[in-house]
Symmetry: C2
Subunit: 344 residues, 2 copies
């Protein structure tokens, strides 16, 4: 469906539209992993809320949730596709959440969600930033960038940082934080438009196309003092180009693996063990939801950067849930400009 | 030469015997990487000491020092082979070091060494332990075990530890520390004798032969609660068998890479990036000489363990420098029993 009709009832539609998972994805989820179904609008659960989904996320991590292999999180076949989203509370049976409030939570790819408090992250203020920004730079993307760079990256002024998927939802926030921390930052991305965006909008000191045949020499030229922090969202051959440039004591922050389509079984790559020792590397993988204790500090920091104009928060919005089944292919093709969302 | 003759002079020989590097090693250093030469006994340098080498180390790390590839340390072709050793001070021109003292330092594979204070680590007390133990469990091996396990491994009582080259100079100390820390420890080694040593002498809760065809299933059976700390001295396929068993939040301590003969170029192995994230792993490589600040605490701890009989400190001593050129092949074949040394 493409049109949302306003009804007299507090609900804008008579039926809920839901994007459901109907099979496991092999690699990048194709549209046939999903089906768009209609069902009754759920009622507000005891102790929970009913929300209208304002805007829902399209995230690289969803590939892992849809894979048949072991992952930190799986969306079972048959379920509505899990997605973080901004919702407006239409009905509430919980004392802390009130009708009319806008809230960041896990509401899925659907028009209406009936959820308990475990699915509600925090209230957002649309006067500070529009809803899609609360899904990205001021949401888990921003928190991920903040925690990975500042906690595991341990930046020191003057060091060199390389970011893969530099123009993505996380990478663009890493860039803003890196500039504030006094790092020299090099962004790896693809295509003239994103390269320009990295240089002109995001504040990278240099941006390189990771598909260039001479990536290794270009990277070496862009990092004359080596690399102290590698914020890696890609894994695979892009990471292989960065590892030889890592300095002694460098930190590798493993945030994503988007350049590898399938991990069942894990593909082969150059072994890292020797470099780990010779270069005294530290390498950390993390999932931001483990680190809720740091969210208040991180969010305050990110809001300050955003309101002072130091944080790029570009978003691209797909219109309607019919666009949802193809959204992950679009994302993995790298065609989106800024944080990708769906407005149901 | 095999016999050391006592002379009337303070020097027990008229000439120095030196094992020199004559070419770069490709993989495990063969005897033809070295030559045994004779030269004059050096005189005591200004600001330094002349030592008689009592016992000198044979270390897995020497392969890296002899390789043509980039390493944290290289012994140039033409030089006397670098080795840590215990020496007796025969002459001194330094106020802090006195004739008759025994000292741990870098003296090389030779009878006599003339060195400055940078090559002198610390004085040892032969009443606490015999000289070869000061080269191993109470030397850099012990310090390496202590720092890797306690600092990067961050053990918590009841966790499961896997150690590769479990019966080696470092692994045997890791085992003693693990028992004291209340870990369940599984040692990977090779051959019935070392397996027995791991179980009966070193205190591992289980020991497995890493060459067994069913290593993965044996390891899974030995680690019913998964693996929280992997103290890895081998890299390669042995590490590949451990990685799938790592628990969420597990720590990988990369101490050595002895199972991979050549890193130029790095061999291929299964990529770790996805596991890093999904399991929230932390992986650290280290070289113990970076961590001198922790030596006093570590050495006090290790001495306490040794004197109470909680630290296995078995050593095997090769007699005479003529054995030195073949010592690394012997070590890498895994034929030594305990910490391997040469008595010049």
């Amino acid at each position: 469906m493409t049109e949302i009709k306003h009804l007299d009832s507090p609900y804008r539609q008579a039926l809920n539209t839901e994007v459901r998972v109907i099979r496991r994805a092999d690699g990048i989820p194709a549209p046939d992993v999903f089906t768009v179904t209609r069902g009754p609008i759920p009622s507000c659960p005891d102790g929970g809320v009913l929300v209208r989904v304002v805007v829902a996320a399209v995230d690289p991590a969803m590939r892992g949730w849809l894979s048949g292999e072991s992952n930190y999180l799986t969306v079972p076949t048959g379920d509505v596709m899990r997605a973080e989203a901004i919702g407006e509370i239409l009905d509430s049976r919980h004392a802390d959440w009130h009708v009319g409030e806008f809230v960041y939570g896990v509401f899925g790819w659907q028009h209406y969600a009936a959820v308990g408090p475990a699915h509600l992250y925090w209230k957002i203020d649309l006067d500070v930033a529009p809803a899609p920004v609360w899904l990205g730079a001021l949401g888990f993307n921003g928190l991920t960038a903040w925690f990975g760079l500042l906690h595991y990256g341990r930046p020191r002024r003057g060091e060199t940082l390389v970011v893969s998927t530099a123009a993505g939802a996380v990478g663009s926030v890493v860039a803003g934080l890196a500039r504030e921390a006094g790092l020299r930052s090099i962004g790896l991305t693809q295509g003239a438009e994103k390269l320009n965006r990295c240089r002109a909008m995001l504040g990278y000191d240099a941006a390189l196309d990771y598909t260039a045949p001479d990536l290794r020499s270009a990277l070496a030229a862009a990092c004359p003092d080596g690399v102290d922090i590698f914020y890696d969202n890609t894994a695979g051959p892009i990471a292989d180009a960065v590892f030889p440039l890592l300095n002694r004591g460098a930190r590798v922050v493993q945030c994503g693996t988007v350049s590898v389509a399938n991990w069942l079984p894990a593909p082969l790559g150059p072994r890292r063990e020797r470099a780990m020792i010779v270069k005294r590397l530290s390498w950390h993988g993390f999932v931001i939801s483990d680190h809720r204790d740091s969210f208040p500090e991180a969010l305050a920091h990110l809001k300050r950067l955003f309101t002072t104009g130091s944080l790029d928060a570009q978003t691209e919005i797909l219109d309607g849930l019919d666009a949802a089944p193809g959204a992950l292919q679009y994302l993995y093709a790298g065609r989106n400009r800024g944080r990708l969302c769906i407005r149901p």
